[in-house]
């Protein structure tokens, strides 16, 4: 059973979002890190880049696979987690601590389509 955090929002691509004021932090869930296996490479966008909802903003690679990261929300990248680029294996250890990017929310309505912890737990169980 993979770990799901209360108070976070979730996508069907197994990313989590933590919303604080006008910004959101994005990471990958415990379910995601567990299905990827050993994470060995992370590529993130630069600060200041404008992301568009539904588009890929980076990749997470395990030894055998490449997975795109998708943002469910539009907005400017305020900060990226350079530490996770240097030590990607930390995502396996602590997927909720190893955030990827902070985004300035361009349209708060985009959050409405995301799942809460309970809905995401049910979603994972249905897979």
């Amino acid at each position: 059973m993979s770990k799901v955090m209360d108070g976070y929002l979730y996508t069907e691509e197994h990313e989590w979002l933590l919303v604080e004021g006008n910004s959101a932090t994005i990471g990958i869930t415990d379910f995601a890190q567990s299905s990827l296996g050993d994470i060995v490479f992370v590529e993130l966008p630069e600060e200041g880049e404008e992301l568009e909802a539904g588009n890929s903003f980076g990749v997470v690679e395990s030894i055998k696979s490449v997975s795109d990261l998708y943002t469910p929300i539009s907005g400017k990248v305020l900060e990226k987690n350079s530490t996770v680029e240097e030590t990607p294996e930390n995502l396996n250890e602590d997927p909720y601590g190893g955030w990827l990017v902070k985004i300035e929310l361009a349209d708060k309505d985009q959050l409405n389509s995301l799942m809460d912890a309970q809905a995401y737990t049910e979603f994972c169980e249905s897979l």
Binding site: V40, E61, K64, V66
Partner: protein, 359 residues
């Protein structure tokens, strides 16, 4: 995955909670608990792979040796009885139908192990040239299961389970006399660069052996770690480095084409062939190369593609084999790999990334 073929160990893989995937029509374990641990187990200790999906052909009769020596590019006559020989199987144009291992039990009795995806194609190719030889060719693929026990502890482990096992040389075979249900043999071969054995036998014998190896603490390993292990030591994979559009001379396999031996399929084509491609070993400090990525020279021209790439478990960096245009490559000073539109400088390696410990 219900319409996929299953090996005799399928249920055991499920019990070990392996992640199963469709691998060329077979439902096979890609990994058990952890791919990295599987790689490390093989490099330092021992791991066992179910490779029963691979094909076995059996050639017997007066002309068995003449037949196989005509079919493949390497020289089986030059090998002693009891030896295993790696060889491409080519068509009349010298293009690679498959790569395989010939096990020469005697001049009248020869086993061949072929890639699972190529069983039918290989069998047809062999059938089509058999008429002038006095021998029998059988496809025994559905009668045999196959394990690969790999790693420095392989010999002592196998010996502790099958007492008659001898400390045979690398690329040698030993028939198992105490296994009576079906002709069974071991070969000191493998696809990891480490010391180890491949064990051919009946489904029942192999299932039994698998159980004993797992009980002895041998790490069950999937096709994922197998691919990393073979790529670390730069062994080619059919479908990636090798295919029927190229010849062995385009893929670093010149050493397996014996132009001095008597006539063989593809000989005349290969005699007049100048290689177009070259296989190169590339590593990256940052970024992970993957099959299909373009390799560029310093002018930004594409000179070829990555055929296999991964993160090396041993080196902890990206490693790859790439098929490049031979002439463009020889004129290149620096190579870059295009990863999602960004260029990453590649280091050209002359030797395999990892030196296995095989004997």
């Amino acid at each position: 995955m219900s319409n996929l073929k299953k090996t005799s160990l399928h249920q055991k893989h499920l019990e070990l909670k392996a992640k199963m995937v469709d691998f060329g029509g077979w439902e096979m374990p890609i990994q058990y608990k952890n791919l990295k641990e599987e790689v490390v187990a093989v490099r330092e200790n021992a791991g066992v792979f179910d490779v029963s999906h691979m094909g076995e052909f059996y050639i017997t009769g007066k002309d068995a040796l003449n037949f196989i020596n005509y079919a493949v590019t390497n020289d089986i006559k030059a090998a002693n009885n009891g030896k295993a020989v790696y060889s491409p199987l080519c068509d009349s144009n010298g293009k690679i139908i498959d790569d395989l291992i010939v096990y020469k039990i005697s001049e009248q009795e020869i086993f061949v192990c072929v890639n699972a995806a190529n069983i039918e194609k290989d069998f047809q190719a062999l059938e089509s040239i058999k008429a002038k030889f006095d021998c029998e060719l059988k496809n025994l693929s559905s009668d045999y299961s196959l394990l690969a026990l790999q790693g420095p502890k392989s010999f002592e482990l196998l010996k502790s389970i099958i007492d008659e096992v001898q400390d045979i040389e690398y690329y040698s075979i030993q028939l198992l006399e105490t296994i009576k249900d079906q002709k069974s043999f071991i070969a000191r071969t493998g696809y990891t660069g480490e010391d180890g054995f491949e064990i051919f036998g009946s489904h029942e014998f192999i299932a039994n052996l698998w159980g004993k190896l797992i009980a002895a603490g041998v790490e069950p390993c999937g096709l994922g770690s197998r691919d990393v292990l073979r790529l670390e030591v730069c062994f080619p994979l059919y479908g990636n480095e090798l295919n029927q559009d190229i010849t062995p001379l385009d893929a670093g396999l010149k050493w397996t084409v014996k132009m001095n031996k008597e006539d063989f399929v593809g000989k005349s084509a290969l005699e007049s062939y100048a290689a177009k491609y070259q296989l190169v070993k590339l590593s990256l400090d940052k970024g992970i190369p993957r099959a299909g990525y373009e390799v560029e020279n310093e002018k930004g021209e594409s000179i070829g593609i990555i055929t296999s790439g991964t993160q090396s478990v041993v080196l902890k960096k990206g490693i790859a084999l790439a098929r490049v245009d031979k002439n463009l490559y020889q004129d290149s000073e620096k190579l870059n790999i295009n990863i999602r539109g960004k260029l990453y400088p590649a280091e050209i390696n002359k030797k395999p990334f990892v030196t296995g410990g095989h004997k």
